[in-house]
Symmetry: C2
Subunit: 310 residues, 2 copies
């Protein structure tokens, strides 16, 4: 049983109540707590030493990544983060200065996004560091973007460049919070997710939630310099396109809009965010599954993103 | 550096914003998200295998405890829990049926308190189980009870019986959510906390936050049957009174009210919750520190509760 099968099994019959607008299965839970114009976003995300970062990673970067992943999930719903709680589980011999450096990394990122760190907990995990961040945010009613809204014919967009994140970006990425809020304000975005499992894996989450398929254009997928470098330097490395499709931890936005909005969106984006690439990489199809079109023609995409417990 | 010193150091200069009413240092964070009549409560709590429960503990009870601790913290502020997210970090060999049983334990408790489980995450922690629960709740404006409101002359109350929790109660306690809401509705409770570190340790948190002291009456401290049994059965065990003061994980409510409210409170409580003991165990004093009065007279209490990282 892999991670996704397990989650499906666990989430079949969870307790719910009248505050729940969206429960498990999207980037954040969406709650109606009675605010007249807003819904609340609620999210947790954990990073584990040896799984999400190596022992010896500079502690500031560990802190940055732990919070950044949560902010990226808020961005995926076009939300605004408000406050976080931080749970640190640490070997008992841990040095206070290292923990402070982790908090420095989190605090710097939190300040840039006007996010309050309102507490948390330190506890013991004898063998390795675990950091879990819980986040509370909000989104204007009607502006939250789910995974389930993609429609056949939609154009598929992705920000930034993909692949090779382990070379450094996975510890240093800036979550696309402002960009996502801008998108939701100016365009009717049908579906959105942030890329953590890899373009192919996360696109599958949108497709499954929306009961549609996708055709990708191989030549349009933005491949990072790091993925190209790695493929050149290491004969056993993934080809650059496969790295862009499957490496994961890019923390870019993947979203769909009606095809008629594609050109106006590209124009407006270029004016608003001239330094951040945005590319149309394919279209949503009525038939399920992902196909990829290149010079040789169209074929099904079988590669998929990284799964825990696989 | 112990846990409390570390937390003090970490929380000196955390990012804040205009939503924060109470940040780190109380049972929950208190946030103003613009609801006209309510503030939000935000809390996380983690349990770690080998620290908070033994390997081999029935998974339903682990789940119950993980959620129960968070609910107890909400009770400590007289709040009402709404929704939780669950982060499970597990050895990769874990059986799905065991994880489901943990969720069953959490779900049963959640349903009794009308709490929705709105998602979370499973990830890998190779050596041991870590469960972190993040909770969102609310409290009516003006009804949230902090640690910092105790006043000299207040009567100190505690619910239930204390000590010997490891015999079973730490896995099975029912968080005092309804009792705390009732207290805040009917009486002016000056300060409150739930007992996790032990009566002495948690009373110190109230005293420190309120800049006061306390005198306890040894004969009035409610000692559990388990603490008495253990003292009788094991010559090396703590004396029962010391167990009640320091064992911890009782998850009872410890609170203070003006002395004039003490008798009306006891009368009303007995009618409302006839099965739950409530006892007045002493009074708040202007001079700092804790003293304990018994047949031999008054002496300072030096025993203190369990601290991580000590």
């Amino acid at each position: 049983m892999n991670e996704f099968d397990l989650i499906r099994r666990l989430t079949r019959s969870l307790p719910t109540n009248k505050s729940v607008v969206v429960g498990p299965g999207d980037d954040c839970a969406l709650l109606d707590m009675g605010l007249p114009e807003r819904l609340l976003l609620f999210k947790t995300d954990a990073v584990v030493e040896g799984v999400h970062f190596k022992a010896g990673t500079p502690p500031e970067k560990i802190g940055h990544k732990a919070l950044g992943r949560c902010l990226s999930d808020v961005a995926a719903m076009a939300g605004t983060p408000s406050a976080v709680l931080v749970t640190l589980a640490l070997p008992p011999t841990f040095e206070a200065s290292v923990i402070e450096a982790m908090y420095d990394g989190m605090s710097a990122l939190a300040r840039r996004h006007d996010v309050a760190i309102v507490g948390g907990e330190t506890t013991t995990n004898p063998e390795r560091i675990v950091i879990s961040v819980a986040l509370l945010g909000w989104v204007a009613r009607g502006k939250g973007i789910l995974r389930s809204g993609a429609e056949a014919g939609d154009a598929i967009f992705v920000t930034g460049e993909l692949g090779g994140s382990l070379a450094g970006k996975h510890l240093e990425f800036e979550p696309r919070v402002a960009e996502a809020v801008w998108l939701a304000r100016h365009f009717q975005v049908h579906s959105m997710i942030d890329i953590s499992d890899g373009l192919a894996g996360d696109l599958r989450h949108i497709l499954k939630a929306s009961r549609v398929g996708a055709e990708l254009l191989a030549a349009s997928i933005p491949i990072s310099l790091e993925a190209r470098r790695k493929a050149k330097a290491e004969s056993a490395a993934k080809p650059p396109l496969l790295a862009a499709l499957t490496d994961g931890e890019d923390f870019e936005l993947l979203f769909t809009v009606a095809s008629r909005d594609a050109v106006p969106l590209l124009d407006a984006w270029k004016k608003q965010f001239p330094k951040i690439p945005l590319g149309c990489i394919g279209k949503i199809t009525a038939s399920e599954g992902i196909t990829i079109r290149d010079k040789q023609g169209v074929r099904p995409l079988t590669a998929h993103g990284y799964e825990h417990f696989s």
